[in-house]
């Protein structure tokens, strides 16, 4: 008897799950996209940045007349799930979006780790996914055909910092190979690939890595590393650990008065290091995918600077800080989808995939053109230095608006 009631519970539960795919209607049609994104857990801060970027793009596209497919107008609607910053959850949710919500197109999650968890699923189901937050190279050498990334891959983040260090060494009459590097990265796919990239660059200059540490995920203290830095005096200190890593690094570098001539980190803007620590952040180099000062432009979002203003008025909580590049690239991902739908003039996912693969566009975020593997090869990374509380582009030289200040202090 009691087993029967269990059955009924199961069945009613499943029926409830089924009924959720009801669509809202308006004068324009809807294109449903799915996304599992980190709203809780360790990546939540950046997950929210990305989600805001998606939402802003969708609202702008709606305002400007939507997406035209087959002569009719459509708007995007995204079904979000919370992946809790856990890979297994992200994979399950991607599968659920595809097989239960019948989603045909996906927007990426936050971080390389989550993207790595989802990519095999989208590949299996042949669902095109445009992702904006997974930069690890390990995503693009697996032969995946349905993943398209608008951002530059991890090894490029700090390559120009290594090159700058070499350049400065030569200017000061030293050999580039005499430069010593200290690396402290978080133990996750993104940061580990940053480390692999820096190691490769360092090897090509013959530089020596004298400190090589991994940051724990849950304790916000790196004094053990900074003590070694003080003792061994490297010429370049590299730190990568998402928002928490950036905040911890800047705070403790200030507290401990670390005098390394060049410090390069990731996620400065997302962590709002200037707003949090003011002058302490001066002189730090920040790898960034995008800067609002760059001369990129498109007809939908305007120039990079206009994008930033528009976004700030739509999301006032960003009023007093930089709009992080995580947001801009999320917006760009939605834009790429719009463009692909219009060029394909179809909802067929294979045609969308082919259209995505043929993408060649100029956006406020930079040029976007995908390689065979799906990564964006048309857009460079830039390196900004915080100079008197302002982020100024210092490298690579064709984009530089200011000269790098070296040594940092």
């Amino acid at each position: 008897m009691k087993k029967l009631s269990i059955l009924t519970v199961l069945l009613t539960g499943s029926a409830m799950l089924f009924s959720q795919a009801s669509l809202a209607t308006s004068d324009c049609g809807e294109i449903i996209i799915g996304s599992a994104i980190s709203l809780t857990g360790k990546y939540a801060a950046n997950g929210v940045h990305a989600k805001n970027g998606y939402e802003y793009a969708i609202s702008v596209i709606k305002e400007k007349g939507g997406i035209t497919v087959g002569g009719k107008c459509y708007n995007f609607k995204v079904i979000y799930y919370d992946d809790e910053s856990k890979g297994d959850r992200a994979a399950t949710l991607a599968e659920r979006l595809i097989s239960q919500d019948k989603v045909q197109y996906l927007l990426g999650p936050y971080s390389s780790g989550m993207t790595k968890a989802i990519a095999p699923i989208t590949e299996k189901y042949k669902i095109p996914m445009v992702e904006a937050e997974g930069a690890s190279r390990s995503l693009f050498n697996k032969g995946y055909k349905y993943i398209f990334a608008v951002l530059s891959t991890s090894e490029q983040y700090l390559a120009s910092a290594v090159a700058l260090a070499a350049e400065k060494a030569v200017e000061n009459g030293r050999l580039a190979s005499s430069v010593t590097i200290a690396i402290a990265v978080e133990n996750d796919p993104f940061s580990l690939d940053i480390r692999a990239g820096v190691s490769d660059d360092a090897a090509s200059f013959g530089m020596k890595i004298i400190i090589d540490e991994k940051l724990p995920r849950d304790l916000s203290d790196m004094s053990a590393i900074l003590t070694k830095v003080k003792l061994l005096k490297p010429d370049l200190l590299i730190i990568s650990g998402h928002t928490k890593g950036a905040l911890t690094a800047v705070r403790q570098i200030g507290e401990k008065n670390i005098k390394v001539p060049m410090i390069a980190i990731t996620h400065c803007e997302a962590a709002d290091v200037v707003g949090n620590f003011g002058d302490t952040a001066n002189g730090i180099l920040c790898a960034t995918q995008w800067s609002e000062t760059l001369a990129y432009e498109d007809e939908l979002f305007g120039t990079a600077a206009e994008y930033e203003m528009g976004f700030k008025s739509a999301f006032p909580e960003y009023k007093n800080k930089k709009v992080p590049y995580q947001t801009a690239q999320a917006t760009a991902a939605v834009y790429v989808f719009k463009d692909a739908f219009e060029r394909a003039n179809s909802f067929d996912k294979e045609k969308i995939r082919d259209a995505l693969s043929a993408t060649d566009m100029k956006t406020f975020y930079g040029d976007i053109k995908f390689s065979e593997a799906g990564n964006n090869i048309a857009k460079p990374m830039v390196l900004r230095q915080i100079q008197n509380g302002v982020y100024n582009v210092v490298a690579p030289s064709e984009f530089a608006s200011h000269k790098v200040i070296w040594p940092r202090l």
Partner: protein, 303 residues
């Protein structure tokens, strides 16, 4: 292996580094002591193993952070967090904890785990998931050629932790309530017979624990940073310390807290900072095994 050797040789070549690591460890340990002392209190007095300990800490941090956002001075955060978290602790006691006291030990562990994930998510909904910190803007004191650095903010944190711990000890020793708490910890039934309102004692003890954690959180937000989901790291360390020190043994808690802070720092220096958490739990295991061997030696009836 090379890395470990070179790290070890660093300790020998620059003896001052040992002192520096010790100082760092003690400063971290001082905060752990607060959290662990609160846990030792509720564990000893009411036999509740509070897994939500870390989330009380983080909540206190958010109280202080919110005050600073409203334009209040940061140091005010510590007493305010103490008071606010007292209230939160009292509510948690009335709703959940009061019902698990007389139950077996596993109940409290699980119930407070449920409480912990609720609190973390409520904080996330209230304050967002950004990592937050408060910058006091104080300088750092340098010694030994700048190799030893003592940020004034951390010094203030340690000072406040000491004052707080001292006043709690003083309170437990001298006040009526303190005596009642200690009596209840020794034998709740006897205390009841002697006319002590144990229900009141329990409520008071748990609120006090929550308040201590809140104050610790307010200190943490000044020297490190907080995020809604970082509570568990503090809970784990509190368990390590209390297990190592034993219940109702305040000097033991202080020694174990400072010791674990220092050992963690030394371990992080030698093996790499990535092993810090592993070092904490391996220490816990070692302590448990030592305890076991001691118990085996004078084995009678175990309970």
């Amino acid at each position: 292996m090379d890395q470990i050797l070179s790290n070890l040789s660093m300790l020998v070549d620059f003896p001052i580094v040992n002192l520096k690591i010790l100082i760092d460890g003690i400063m971290i340990g001082a905060i752990f002591v607060l959290v662990a002392y609160g846990l030792a209190l509720v564990w000893g007095v009411m036999n509740v193993k509070n897994l939500a300990q870390g989330d009380f800490v983080i909540s206190g941090g958010y109280v202080s952070w919110w005050l600073v956002q409203q334009g209040f001075p940061a140091l005010l955060g510590v007493p305010v967090a103490f008071v606010v978290m007292w209230g939160v602790g009292w509510v948690a006691y009335k709703l959940v904890i009061s019902r698990v006291i007389e139950r077996d030990m596993f109940t409290s562990l699980l119930a407070t785990f449920g409480l912990a994930i609720m609190m973390a998510q409520i904080l996330n909904l209230m304050f967002g998931s950004d990592t937050q910190s408060v910058d006091l803007g104080y300088d750092t004191l340098f010694f030994a050629d700048g190799l030893i650095d003592v940020p004034i903010a951390k010094l203030i944190g340690v000072l406040m932790a000491t004052v707080l711990a001292a006043s709690v000890i003083w309170f437990m020793k001298t006040s009526r309530m303190g005596q009642a708490i200690r009596a209840t910890a020794q034998d709740a039934r006897a205390a009841r017979v002697m006319g002590i309102d144990t229900e009141k004692v329990y409520a008071f003890t748990f609120s006090l624990n929550s308040a201590i954690c809140g104050a610790a959180g307010a200190i943490i937000v000044m020297v490190w940073l907080i995020q809604p989901f970082y509570g568990i790291a503090y809970a784990i360390r509190a368990f390590v310390i209390v297990t190592a020190a034993g219940l109702g043994n305040l000097p033991g808690v202080i020694a174990a807290g400072l010791g674990i802070g220092a050992l963690e720092q030394f371990g992080a220096h030698i093996f790499g900072i990535g092993y810090q958490q592993a070092i904490a739990v391996v220490l816990l295991l070692i302590v448990l095994i030592i305890r076991l061997i001691q118990q085996k030696r004078n084995r009678q009836v175990l309970k």
